[in-house]
């Protein structure tokens, strides 16, 4: 068998060759024992891979995970309040704590990013998830080797935030004043976090920590605004 066909045996095996190429490979396989053996081996590899067992961690990783969930839990309280969920009567101090958590996380992220800046030369460009519908399965994108994006898509968040803020401004009279105060307080804290991240990015625009953090804060703001406007339209 020629190298041409040897290199395409996996495509043949996976059914990805066109009919004519497939026929040519099969004709060749009929007369080439070496290639037929190679194909059998490749089939065995594929079969073996499909039978690989799951690989549970040797130690229970949950305690370490749980310790890192706490800040998020506090932030969720704000969402529960806005969505009319089971935590409607969230005390103001707790919401302040949520905002404080945002600030501390921002300060930490900025510090961490600036600390690493001197050692990291090539960085992945995070891609904030689409704003529409908050369809954001994840924002961490694999690195395009050597590529540093000039626009990480934050403009889409800016546009969505502007729209939502306009709606909120026009209809704030429909909301309970206490709710408005709490929402505005938290939005100010989120804005502060966004501003800090933006300032830090001015000197290090491709920093993945900062870009991811900024994307998180903007998404949080969109999320809060969407839930508030949903209350307006409810």
């Amino acid at each position: 068998m020629t190298h041409e066909w040897t290199d395409r045996l996996s495509e043949y095996l996976d059914g990805e060759l066109e009919a004519r190429e497939r026929a040519r490979v099969e004709a060749h396989l009929a007369g080439c024992a070496e290639c037929a053996r190679t194909l059998a081996e490749l089939k065995a590899v594929v079969a073996r891979a499909s039978r690989l067992p799951e690989y549970p961690p040797e130690a229970d990783l949950w305690p370490g995970i749980e310790r890192r969930l706490a800040p998020r839990r506090r932030l969720l309280d704000l969402r529960a309040l806005l969505s009319g969920g089971p935590r409607v009567s969230v005390p103001i101090p707790q919401l302040l704590a949520a905002g404080l958590a945002v600030m501390l996380l921002t300060a930490g992220a900025v510090w961490l990013a600036l600390e690493r800046r001197t050692t990291l030369r090539v960085v992945p460009g995070p891609q904030p998830a689409p704003v529409a519908g908050l369809a954001a399965p994840d924002t961490i994108a694999p690195e395009a080797a050597g590529a540093v994006a000039a626009d990480f898509g934050f403009s889409r968040y800016d546009a969505a935030i502007a729209d939502l803020e306009r709606t909120l401004s026009q209809h704030r009279g429909q909301l309970d004043p206490a709710t408005v105060r709490v929402v505005e307080l938290n939005l100010r804290l989120i804005d502060r976090a966004i501003s800090q991240a933006r300032r830090a990015l001015e000197s290090d625009p491709a920093n993945p920590y900062l870009n991811n953090h900024l994307a998180d804060q903007m998404r949080l703001k969109v999320d809060v605004l969407r839930q508030v406007t949903a209350l307006i339209h409810a």
Partner: protein
């Protein structure tokens, strides 16, 4: 194959057999801040995520990567719209996180050719009587790109188009890397 949340593609082999109904209930609770519900999600999916981490990143960072995946999932849970199975969403998040981590470590940029000779030299014959373990070890010793494509395609069930999107390569490159990985691994199936 189903496509649900934007950017999340569901290989049939992954979505099938997962405890979707249980997940839906616990996802709803976890989204409302119920850490116990999220722990149940962790218990159901940790083995698969850890296996993925181990095969994609190696045994050393697998525990930390698994923890990072679940912490990240907790943070992103509000963005999960429930159109795909939670497991599908979680595994895609895990893959993205691991690829990003590998990129940080420089592995993504390291070209593959410099390691193939090492693997070829080590794999003339299985070194262990347990072929299963040797097969796992051989996966770990594959060149970076070939290992990623092999794990994503032959172990996790993703298609070349999806892998190409994840790795920012062409489908042709993905196919070539897969064939390369298989050709290297077949030696570990010999008696």
């Amino acid at each position: 194959m189903e496509r649900s949340d934007p950017g999340v593609t569901t290989p049939t082999t992954i979505s099938e057999g997962l405890p979707g109904a249980d997940d839906r209930d616990d996802v709803a609770r976890a989204r409302a801040g119920d850490a116990r519900a999220f722990e149940r999600l962790y218990r159901r999916h940790a083995a698969r995520v850890h296996g993925l981490a181990r095969r994609m990143m190696g045994p050393g960072p697998a525990d930390e990567a698994t923890q990072d995946v679940f912490v990240r999932a907790w943070e992103k849970l509000a963005t999960f719209r429930g159109e795909a199975a939670f497991g599908t969403w979680l595994y895609r998040l895990a893959i993205n996180l691991m690829l990003s981590r590998r990129a940080w470590l420089g592995g993504q940029r390291r070209r593959l050719d410099d390691r193939e000779e090492t693997l070829a030299a080590q794999t003339a014959r299985p070194a262990m009587t347990d072929l299963g373990m040797d097969f796992e070890g051989a996966i770990g010793r594959l060149p970076e790109g070939a290992r990623q494509v092999f794990v994503l395609h032959d172990v996790e069930g993703y298609k070349h188009g999806e892998i190409a999107d994840m790795l920012r390569v062409t489908s042709g490159t993905s196919k070539a890397q897969l064939h390369r990985a298989r050709m290297l691994l077949r030696r570990h199936l010999e008696a």
